[in-house]
Assembly symmetry: C2
Homo-oligomer: 585 residues x 2
């Protein structure tokens, strides 16, 4: 591998924006970083809790990964770190391998980040970003909605101050009902108040601040700091009344200091157990992240490079793994805050990392009395904004197949967990696509009198001749529909002894693969057996180029016509009423 300056710049976007860095960009990035830091401290603690990990791992996952993304990432505004859905998936996967709270559990989460990082890096180096395309929009939408519900359900126990387990919705609800007798009233009051407050912050604080005369931007940023206010107030109450002595679960000791150097477990068994999940987490994290990054980049007519984003996110996850973190990706809410607060380069992320490192060094003792219920409230309010059933309505109106895919994804995710849900959604999407294209729209067409246009004989009054059948296929021809076309044509000619010519009209055929080619050869041969000639018309340039490499054109009993009109003129004994144009070639 030779590293010329250009490929260096491809793999290290920092060389590009870094060379133009100046004092103004520094100021803007610094302000954005400060605001994101304030937002990220409670979030990273909460998501670590959601992943079933010690609180400090959330902080660790918000330091080195951000620096790595600043070096390798191409988005100017993406804020990387722990996010809700990936944290839920981490809990689900790692929970199958070790007991929550054990060293093995944390080690497995670290290994998962490492594997996911390697997978993302490999996908980036081999430019395999297109794999993410196999997740259709409805499947992602259904998955995110179901994940939001699962996450909210997983946090209910913290609001109630009870213990309950489970990975699926029925398990979680069952666990809560079973232990509902153990509810801790003080925890419930704190949790419910925090939840109500955060909902109000989200809906009511901004108008309130605007009414008080604040600028819209300031009001917006202050509203995002709502969780910090909830953290501060409930921590103070908890400390003053020593609530831990009244059964309220608090965060407790969070070790002070910078992230430790950690190494993933290099065990074949662990890797093979985690591999499938790591692929899923990588792809889902990548899809979410890229879609945020693209939205923000488009607003400033900037561009992001998806294959390099894979490298950026891969580096972030490897960085998370070697510094005591767990899987990370670009977060939606915090990236928007970063963008709105004026971040101009990925350096803002690096500055945020400094802010979080400062918090890890000096602020963790202040978090001792923070009630876990407050963090749970933060999570619930954040994820309920992800829940959006409108995708069911939209797809129902637009396409029943897509509706089936999204419904299956939601139900299977809720009923059997995240991995089953998203895998089933992907398979269903692919299956439905193949099914749809395997029964393409095929029309028998005839000439519209007085024109050179051909239309469906079932919908229009058109001219046809008994010895000529023209069939238009509105789909690329490939293995999934090759046999369909064979069946269709052989059915059409069976028992009809007038037919002497079949013309296949191909204006919408974008590709003919080897299977379809063989089917065409077969159709040609079988028609020949029955004394019928096969012709093609309106074959596209690239398809024709490809066909010229095959035997079909040589074996074809008929001809290839540039236009269907030319085919009709040559083959049909049609008396066209008053042709207004000269005949096409």
């Amino acid at each position: 591998m030779s590293f010329n300056p250009r490929s260096l710049r491809r793999y290290f976007p920092i060389l590009d924006w870094g060379s133009k860095y100046n004092k103004d960009t520094f100021t803007n990035d610094g302000v954005a970083a400060l605001i994101v830091t304030i937002m990220l401290i409670p979030q990273s603690l909460a998501y670590a809790l959601l992943a079933g990990l010690p609180a400090q791992m959330g902080l660790y996952a918000s330091i080195l990964p951000l620096v790595a993304y600043a070096i390798f990432g191409t988005s100017r505004a993406l804020a990387v770190g722990p996010v809700a859905v990936v944290s839920l998936m981490t809990a689900s996967v790692v929970g199958n391998m070790a007991l929550q709270g054990t060293a093995e559990y944390a080690a497995a989460a670290i290994t998962l980040a490492f594997l996911s990082g390697l997978i993302l890096l490999a996908m980036g180096l081999f430019r395999l970003g297109f794999f993410a395309n196999f997740l259709s929009h409805p499947v992602i939408a259904g998955f995110i909605t179901a994940s939001g519900i699962l996450i909210a359900a997983s946090q209910l126990k913290h609001l109630l101050g009870i213990s309950a387990g489970g990975h699926t919705l029925p398990e979680r609800i069952g666990g809560i009902i079973e232990n509902i007798g153990d509810v801790n009233v003080i925890t419930l009051v704190i949790g419910a108040s925090a939840t109500a407050f955060l909902f109000w912050v989200r809906k009511g604080l901004k108008p309130f601040l605007r009414a008080k005369g604040l600028s819209p931007r300031m009001a917006d940023i202050l509203a995002k700091a709502g969780p910090v206010a909830a953290v501060v107030v409930t921590t103070l109450i908890s400390a003053v009344f020593q609530l831990q002595n009244h059964g309220v679960k608090i965060v407790g000791d969070v070790p002070r200091g910078l992230p430790p150097l950690t190494l993933p477990a290099f065990s074949g068994e662990v890797w093979s157990q985690l591999f499938g999940a790591a692929v899923l987490i990588s792809i889902i994290g990548f899809v979410e992240s890229v879609s945020v990054a693209q939205t923000l980049a488009a607003k400033k007519r900037q561009r992001i490079v998806p294959d390099q984003e894979l490298i950026g996110l891969g580096a972030s996850n490897v960085a998370a793994a070697i510094s005591g973190g767990y899987p990370v990706t670009g977060g939606f809410a915090r990236s928007v805050v970063n963008f709105d607060a004026g971040a101009e380069t990925p350096a803002a992320g690096a500055f945020t990392a400094i802010g979080i490192a400062f918090a890890a060094l000096f602020l963790t003792p202040l978090l001792y009395f923070l009630p876990v219920a407050t963090l749970a409230a933060t999570i619930i309010v954040a994820v309920l904004s992800l829940v959006d059933f409108s995708i069911l309505k939209t797809t129902w109106g637009y396409s029943k197949g897509d509706f089936a895919a999204v419904l299956a994804t939601i139900l299977l995710t809720l009923g059997f967990g995240v991995e089953t849900g998203v895998s089933a959604g992907v398979m269903l999407s692919i299956g439905l696509h193949l099914y749809k294209t395997s029964r393409p729209h095929v029309a028998e067409v005839g000439l519209v009198p007085g024109t050179e246009h051909f239309r469906n004989i079932k919908r229009h009054e058109v001219l046809t001749t008994p010895e000529l059948v023209t069939i238009r296929v509105d789909e690329s021809l490939y293995f999934a529909n090759a046999r369909f076309l064979e069946d269709y044509i052989l059915d059409r000619i069976a028992d009809d002894c007038d037919i002497k010519h079949v013309v296949l009209m191909c204006p919408a055929v974008n590709e003919i693969d080897s299977s379809a080619l063989e089917s065409l050869e077969e159709i040609n041969k079988r028609l020949d057996d029955g004394g019928i000639k096969l012709h093609l018309s309106e074959v596209k340039g690239p398809v024709m180029d490809r066909l010229q490499k095959s035997h079909l054109l040589h074996d074809l009993t008929g001809q290839v016509f540039l236009s269907q009109y030319a085919a009709m003129k040559a083959l049909g004994d049609v008396t066209k009423p008053a042709p207004s144009d000269p005949v096409a070639a």
Copy 2:
């Protein structure tokens, strides 16, 4: 379910042809049946051997299943029974569950036939025949070639008179090399002579008989009877010299009589172990059978009904399971013989069944001394005609992706067995298709001067205006390429501040699914953020119908134009040199 006469006729094609049955058809069917019977006796014994089953199970599989197909099948010439590839797959699947030669082994083969029959029946009743389309032609061709090699390799040990096991090519070759010291010379002489004779029958007998003055049809039929000659001669030699006392393996006692009534094992465990394999066997058997049936039907302009063929084959397999047989399907060689010998209706199959039943009742004692090496020679000569590497050359020239799929199928089938090979081939075909359509051909187009045609700006001298970008997509828009289009358009507009309009030209877009719809909404929104309007042109009727159910047309910042020329006239400040036609609407 109400059975009106029409649906009765759909499910029982026998009612259709049976009502027109007369003496002439009877004579023709009878002659064909006689010839097929003579061909089928050694074949059915040999394929049972290949499947690792007692010889009589080959005969049983050639009686009741043929009657069932005669009632339910739609092909006039298809000859059903044990075939090579399905026998190989049976051996491979059942070999994982029981030891060859045990009662469990035979019971598992019977259960496999039953399951496969149920699967085929279900696919037929629910009209799921399209599943077979997921097997692309190159994958089937590669699979058949590799199976032919595997089958020939599996019979080598019988030619040499040694014992050897294994399911993959390396295992089989290893097994032979390991035991090469045990070669039985007499067996080798019989086996090698029979093989040489059968090859000569295949290549040289027909010209020889023609030269002797026989009619081409008679010469052809006699050539097909070659295996019977080999069986008769080697059996006589073996009996006269009592070769079983010299280490030559003979068929031995084959129980006389009609098939016993058998029942499959109704065990959940067995069924779940066999289910995946039963699906594969069903689909591969169906694909092979339908392609033979269609070829023969087309020659007489008859039609077959693929979904009813599923029912016919399903009934045959259930019939095989309840009468001591194993999985069956339509065989290529014997169907061609049946057709050439003049079979006119499925009754020929029923008459063949009577012939085989006669053989099972009275001829089995004559088979006692038949050397197994002769049967092995029959198999080897038959399957080597399946081996055809030309598919590699064809696909290499036509499509590297298809080449990769066929090469992978061949190598994985040889190296890891039939199930792995064909599964990998299917997944690779689907993956490659998604990959190809996920990166569609997209061209920026401009106006060809003096016309209303638009062409690729990279290939032609065309007129464009800086504020208008027209993009033509040559593919249906769906989840696998939705993001590609987003990337493409956002890349195109990044850093180009002149652009005010983007037109998406859609003459080759046959479908827009929910994902692509969402991507278009997203593109629309992002372009709007950048002050650019999005327009569509030349949207097809069915696609437009669909779009009218969505929000896109309402949210679209631009317009939908019937023709690209209309779009250019409305949006571009183009000074078209000397327009020859009036402007389109």
